[in-house]
């Protein structure tokens, strides 16, 4: 009876998962071995040349650009997010709620609008021009450079880094910090030996949460990078919408998934090496 009930309750979610996650993934894998129909789209087949094309230098470049942008963006989110989360969790006191709210509010506005806002901020009339004057270069630009894309990435995904970090830091027993100081560790030593290791699960979760969407990001490089910083997202749009080569696009998507899996596996292995605590639950 209860097994039946469990089945009944799990069924809708299971169906959802199947229809929207597993099935599309399978379709993508199947497509990636097909060929382009004459007018674009997909024609069934079993060929490997989509994957061979992927390895051509100009085709593989967006992978590397995406990879290093996503890694740099993740590091940027960490550098900004960790102190921020630490501050909110331990020092903000009564204003904790306010800071959380300030982080959440941008989520209520369209991502597109927020990215366009940066267009204005970084434009020549504003920050771009100002920095240009400072360095004495009238041709100085931020927009259209990888730096603008990176900035947009860090800005756009920062909350996804801060929330999991905040939660682990908030949950951490504050007397552990006192115990550490009591045993002779100064502030930085305490942070390094106690706070950071305990915040590690949140740090890993946050990194993965920002890394994955950054790898496939399309809007930010298009708007802030003027499409010059060509990421996987842009390449995919090209393949599916411009050249309508669905099988090749599918092969790129599979490649992207593989690159992300490998990167994340290496990352989790790396931060967990030599750790003695409970297994870190990822996500």
């Amino acid at each position: 009876m209860s097994a039946l009930l469990t089945t009944a309750l799990v069924f809708p979610a299971g169906l959802w998962y199947l229809a929207l996650l597993v099935a599309p993934l399978l379709i993508v894998v199947v497509f990636s071995f097909g060929t382009r129909a004459t007018n674009g789209g997909y024609e069934p087949g079993l060929v490997l040349n989509n994957y061979e094309r992927l390895l051509q230098p100009q085709r593989i470049e967006p992978f590397f650009t995406s990879l290093w942008m996503a890694i740099a963006g993740t590091i940027g989110c960490l550098l900004v997010g960790l102190p921020l989360a630490y501050f909110i969790a331990t020092r903000a006191g009564q204003r904790k709620g306010l800071f959380i709210l300030l982080l959440v509010i941008p989520f209520w506005t369209s991502f597109l609008i927020r990215t366009y806002a940066w267009l204005i901020v970084l434009g020549r009339e504003n920050l771009g021009g100002f920095i240009g004057e400072l360095v004495g270069d009238p041709d100085f630009r931020i927009l259209g450079t990888p730096a603008a894309v990176l900035l947009g990435l860090v800005y756009g995904y920062l909350p996804l880094m801060v929330f999991p970090l905040y939660v682990t830091l908030e949950r951490m027993d504050r007397t552990l910090v006192e115990a550490s100081k009591d045993l002779g560790a100064a502030r930085w030593a305490t942070f390094r030996q106690v706070t950071l290791p305990i915040a590690l699960p949140g740090l890993i979760t946050g990194s993965i949460l920002v890394f994955i969407p950054m790898m496939g990001e399309y809007v930010i490089p298009s708007i802030l990078g003027y499409g010059r910083t060509f990421l996987m997202g842009n390449a995919l749009v090209d393949a599916f919408i411009q050249t309508r080569n669905w099988p090749f696009g599918s092969a790129m998507a599979v490649g992207l998934i593989l690159v992300m899996l490998v990167t994340i596996t290496i990352y989790v292995w790396f931060v967990n090496r030599g750790r003695h605590g409970r297994d870190v639950s990822v996500l």
Partner: protein, 394 residues
Amino acid sequence: MSLSATPDTPLPGRRATLSERGGETPDVDIVDVTKRFGDITAVDAMRLSVARGAFYSFLGPSGCGKTTTLRMIAGFEQPTAGEIYLAGEPVAGVPPYQRNVNTVFQHYALFPHMNVAQNVGYGLRQRGTTKADEARRVGEALELVRLSGYERRRTWELSGGQQQRVALARALINQPTVLLLDEPLGALDLKLRKEMQLELKALQQEVGITFVYVTHDQEEALTMSDTIIVMHHGRIQQQGGPAELYERPVNRFVANFIGVSNPIDGKLVEHDPSTGRGVVQTDRGLRLTGLVTDPDARPAPGTEVIVAVRPERLQVEPATHAAPPADGWSSVEGRIHQGTYLGDHTEFRVATDIAGEMVARRQNAAGAAAIMGVGPGDPVVVRWEDSANLILVA
């Protein structure tokens, strides 16, 4: 006055501290320390010397300032006024990690991402001890707390008592001048608590490190301490050995907080400050001779006082067989209200006209049969010696 703004005045029977005996520097010296949090005065004008190698306990009800005092010694809080000296050095502004003091926290605060050995060796690693040295001393420390072989265990796999011992080892391995313990047994069940009390006491004697212990459990304090400091509302009420506090409580608070007593209201009619002897005329016509326990008290004649008598000092006898009135004894008549057999002793509640309801305790030394003689409603005489009369002014 007795509220121990000047606890250094010797009380009758109080042990002299080492500093008084030999001029040796006390491990902790708290001089006129006050700590306020906004409007709350958590610790009020405290003065205290903690002698080397002794077991001190702060005892008092919740919120009386025990933890705050400990945190000021450890360096987690700074006094609002006054000065604390550790081994003779003033420590104002010295951060916790530079004080040679270690704390055992109430919920142990073991590092969850480290195993037992890494937890215990934490303090040594901060001092750059070599790996080999660390391993050796961790082994010794674990042996001391009877946890040899647990080096690689995860802390959350251990029982409460074992976690407690890891916390102890982690603190003791640093050989602090003073070890601070804030209700370390609070989370353990009663039986384990009793075991750990004796173990802690034995450990303290073995290592010879000064322990400053915080508890709100009077029995725990009596079991372990050389000196107990009774606190209330941020003030030291009295300090002394267990027997002294029980036999000579200086005020009502101490008399009620440590053990039970029968209070009898009256007015002080005679007082000899040199011997402490006083005579009290009670409100219902009893004349009691006893000791004014607070040696500093100089009460005016006619002052309202309380005569406190411990239950075990009262003798309950059937009215028919009562001993005749004698010099140096008081007696009142009453009826048994209730008799409760409690194994090793029996507790009688006796309703008396003159002294209200009195609680008396009788050891069941002669077995249960001996107490069967009297039951509820029976007329009895309650007798006690003058030496049992504790006259409390404050």
